[in-house]
Amino acid sequence: MASFWQYANPKKFVETTDRLLPWLSGLALLSMGVGLIWGFFFTPDDFRQGSTVKIIYLHVPAALMAINIWLMMLVASLVWIVRRHHVSALAARAAAPVGAVMTVIALATGAIWGQPMWGTWWAWDPRLTSFLILFLFYLGYMALWAAIEDDDTAADLTSVLCLVGSVFALLSRYAVNFWNQGLHQGASVMRAGALAGDTQERVSNVYAVPLFVCIAGFVLLFIALVFLRTQTEIRARRMRALLARERLQ
């Protein structure tokens, strides 16, 4: 194996992912199915929240993905800026709609959850608010990609936007916290003691295990989707290049 960067060659990338995709999508389907079915059918109701806890199997993975996909786009943009690998820019482009959908899912499930729990569809809680802002960033990012015709220019501009946007997204997170102290749960899943189960906020094992399976499922689904969509972008780009060259003659 030469170097990791050989996969930055579009052709190599397409070949490799073509081989990986069936496995990945199978695994994603399997773990999402297992996690969601387990969560939906075979976990007990919470004593306070009743059956609404079941929403957690969608809400939390989607929320985590929404944030992490933006981080992945940030890394991909940096790779494009520093090393100018086209695949990297296209992967960022391919990931954005997935991230936007994840954000919408987190927002929608949260809103539906909020109705019975907080008595309102929407409250200007900092976590919720920063998700809304994140959604706006996704929208702007995708709109910029769509608006620019030249691929390399679009890649350059969107990656700078992603960079600057990340800084401002972080800033707004702090600003929002300062602005309003909220209703939303703390991040207990990611806390060290979560699985050990010795804090008050812990998510009990009954919920945690299927939750982790769901998270794994969402991650796998994301990877599969990004591979597929990046392939598509690569092909579309090559097609544009071929057509343009054809016209040249």
């Binding site: 930055a8 060659n9 579009p10 052709k11 690998h85 086209h86 015709e149 030249d150 691929d151 390399d152 690569i234 780009r237 090559r238 544009r240 290049a241 071929l242 343009a244 060259r245 054809e246 040249l248 003659q249």
Partner: protein, 205 residues
């Protein structure tokens, strides 16, 4: 001082349009680029002027010594002719506004708003800007569009004066400029050929 362009390849919209263009321009020389519509003259000039990076090849001088004038003139309609030139004189830190006005017979129009000029008068103002820059290499894209015969002669005269001062000029045009001493480079033969079809590498081509 000389402008040495070696083996330049340029692309527009991701598609290579010209390949392997080389020429040398010495102080006091002018080079006229010719070629059919769409061959890539504008693209080449923008690359030489440093506005877009070439695919490969070198441009011997950096952009600091070039003055570029493209299809658009950068004229502000709400400023007067003199104010337009004054601005560029300040930016380039020169004091040649008077000379420029005289060279293109704009004295009479100097206090007119540039928006109220006719097409040819606007173009004369755009060309007067080149005199103002004081840069040694003039890169001109179809400079004589909309100019009448007298104005074309003014232009030729201004270019000659510039060359006499040791300047250089690189001009793309379709029509006769009255600059008989200028060398002519036909870009037709440098048209980029399509690469092998299944050469599917990093650049998608």
């Amino acid at each position: 001082m000389e402008l040495k362009v070696t083996d330049l390849s340029v692309a527009r919209g991701g598609v290579p349009v010209l390949e392997g263009v080389s020429f040398t321009l010495r102080a006091g020389e002018a080079l006229v680029l010719r070629g059919p519509n769409g061959v890539g003259k504008t693209t080449l000039l923008r690359s030489v002027a440093g506005l877009q990076p070439p695919l490969s090849g070198q441009v011997g001088l950096d952009r600091e010594s070039m003055a570029y004038a493209g299809h658009a003139d950068g004229i502000k309609a709400t400023l007067s002719v003199r104010e337009n030139l004054d601005f560029w004189a300040d930016v380039f830190a020169t004091d040649r506004v008077g000379k420029a006005l005289a060279a293109f017979e704009l004295d009479g129009l100097a206090d007119r708003h540039a928006g109220n000029l006719s097409a040819g008068q606007k173009r004369r103002l755009g060309l007067a800007r080149m005199v103002v820059t004081g840069r040694p290499v003039w890169v001109l894209d179809e400079p004589t569009v909309s100019l009448d015969v007298d104005a074309v002669a003014m232009f030729a005269w201004a270019v000659r004066a510039h060359l006499r001062d040791g300047g250089m000029a690189l001009i793309a045009t379709h029509i006769d400029l009255g600059l008989d001493e200028a060398r002519v480079l036909n870009l037709g033969p440098f048209r980029a050929r399509a690469p092998e079809p299944d050469d599917f590498d990093g650049a998608f081509l």
